[in-house]
Amino acid sequence: MTNAAQTSPGPIRRWIARATVRPEPAKRVQFDRPLLPWLFLAPQLAVIFVFFYWPSAQAISSSFYIEDPFGFGATFVGFDNYTDALGSAEYRHIASFTAIFTVLVTAFSLGLGLLLAVKADQVIRARSTYRTAMISVYAIAPPVAGLIGMMLFDQHIGPFVKLAAWFGWEMKVGLNYFDTAFAMILVSVWKQVPYNFIFILSGLQGIPQSVREAALIDCKNGARRFFTAILPLLAPTAFFLLIINITYALFDTFAVIDVMVKDKAANNPITLVYKVYVDGFRGNDIGGSSAQSVILMLVVLVLTLVQFRWLERRVHYG
């Protein structure tokens, strides 16, 4: 490829030259040919189209049909798939579990990430070792994390099960609804904490030393100082992480859930995304599953809009 570019540089160079001549005094880059910016955008747009718009359009369209399980055609049913999903007690049960799951995972991974970052920020000796140890968890792929989690909660060898047994808690992950939910949340949080840790730590280190020192002179109480003078400066980071964590809890925990409840989805806690998968790929209910994913899409859209409208303008100080 590089060879080809080297042997025939003429047209490419001329093309680049044409795109870059006549530099404007203004900061904004001006293109003299209207097509060129679209050419530059094309690869990105293609990716977005193939992996987002097209499947989304597919999902929306198939959510209005009931498809024959054997692929012999589809019948238009209007909003039936939506009313079926929203009307079902099971769906609403899973939806409320998803809400609780999302709130807990987001709260704990943000909280723990913050706590660890604040502590790591104060560590002076063996600083980088400590940080690397913290961050390395993030390098574990989600299914592997799920497997590790599964092992930690294994009925026979899982250290968590043994620990719980000490306190008289007979843990049965995969069988008991509450125990499974507990393990799922724990593993999901564990997987996400390093991500939050990295961002919060770098946010903390972006706070000027002199501002901290001014606060040290102005406020004797350490906790109060943290909440009034330091934490507010992390708000932009926290806002970004809030969105990322909610999305994580809603969607990216799929692998963890999958490993934990595999083949036993029926009596186990699952989230809406997992139900989309179960109904669509196990139950072959393409229409219903599509309707559910459209609902999910709308929920995320609304959440993100709300966050940007109400939160964002309060957190940026410049």
Partner: protein
């Protein structure tokens, strides 16, 4: 209001080979304005921060008023600090920035409001009270930082190069403002700068630091006229004092092949370092031959750089006089500063004033 007493204080940063501050003794009177001055890295900030409680004191004792504060929290030392980069809280308005320290000290609300209003009036911050720092200019931010210190009504103000981020003109006016404010409040102040002009104009007493040690303490003019060491001589005053290698022989001074007859007994004997301020050299009919090298025009005066017998020298001349390539220079013999050639310490003349007339060799 309180005096600050610094006794035998040393500081070695963890892991550092040499101390950054060595055995400093200094007493700051109640209400006095002390300026710490010295080249970059000499330990000015370190000393100030030890008084503030932001840096641990390795050896020695710091007292604010009658209280030893070595192990007292910065918040409990009853000091207020003004930082070089202002260090305002970006998420608080100007009003909240000033009120923050008072609120945390459980000052009554009415009192906080009164103090903030008073500080805002003094510093002309009234129109900006509800703005966030990002919407202020550098000079305004600096004033907010001052306001934050003033409302606290502390026993001492600590300033760490508060003006060095401002442009030259603003620096001059803020300098005046700080001086006025400090005189009015009569609050003990410790002020760090490496700008010797700022140091001269602000200080009641100057403390010249070099490599973690005090070189000289004294009133600005005293230091200017009687620098204790060659270091102080070359650091205080612009242009820097000329330092020449010379030899003393009774009442005669030899610079290379030229001789000045001071007509009185000089301090020291043999090789010394001779200091002459640029403004103390005058052209005359007879005297030391001086070869002009280049000229810097400053408007009100003209700095002429050149050589006396191969040694660099600068003098200040009236810009109206015509320039020549060669001059002859004379100097009043009380304006000669003599320093030990090895230690750099000042050698005092026996006190008998006489006009020295340079004698050509």
């Amino acid at each position: 209001m309180a005096a600050i007493t610094i006794t035998n204080v040393s500081k070695t940063y963890p892991g550092a080979a040499a101390p950054s501050i060595s055995d400093i003794n200094l007493t700051i009177q109640d209400g006095e304005f002390i300026v710490l001055v010295g080249p970059s890295g000499c330990g000015k900030s370190t000393l100030l921060r030890m008084v503030a409680g932001l840096e641990e004191i390795t050896v020695g004792e710091v007292k604010i008023g009658d209280r030893v504060v070595n192990n007292v929290d910065p918040a409990d030392r009853d000091i207020a600090m003004v930082f070089q980069n202002y260090a305002l809280y970006p998420h608080m308005s100007v009003r909240e920035n000033m009120a923050y320290g008072l609120k945390n000290r459980k000052t009554p609300k009415a009192e906080i409001e009164a103090r903030v209003a008073e500080a805002a009036r003094m510093l002309e911050l009234g129109p900006y009270l509800d703005r966030k720092p990002r919407a202020l200019s550098g000079g305004q931010r600096q004033r907010v930082a001052m306001g934050r210190a003033v409302v606290r009504q502390p026993a001492a103000f600590l300033f760490d190069e508060p003006l060095s981020n401002l442009d030259a003109k603003l620096r001059v006016s803020m300098r005046g403002e700080i001086r006025r404010l400090q005189k009015r409040l009569a609050t003990t102040s410790l002020y760090v700068t490496h700008d010797q002009l700022e140091a001269m104009t602000l200080a009641d007493r100057l403390v010249v630091l070099n490599a973690g040690r005090i070189e000289q303490v004294g009133a600005p003019l005293e230091i200017y006229h009687r620098p204790a060491t060659t270091f102080v001589a070359s650091f205080i005053g612009a242009p820097a004092m000329n330092l020449l290698d010379a030899e003393v022989d009774g009442s005669r001074l030899r610079i290379g092949s030229h001789v000045i007859d001071a007509r009185r007994n000089m301090a020291g004997q043999g090789a010394i370092t001779l200091g002459i301020r640029a403004e103390d050299l005058h052209p005359s009919a007879t005297g030391l031959p001086f070869k002009v090298d280049f000229v810097e025009e400053l408007g009100a005066q003209r700095l002429v750089h050149g050589l006396i017998d191969g040694q660099a020298l600068v003098l200040i001349l009236d810009p109206h006089l015509p320039l020549q390539d060669e001059l002859r220079l004379s100097v009043n013999s009380d304006k000669l500063h003599l320093f030990d050639i090895l230690s750099g310490r000042r050698l005092e003349h026996p006190q008998t004033a006489a006009n020295g007339i340079p004698v050509p060799a």
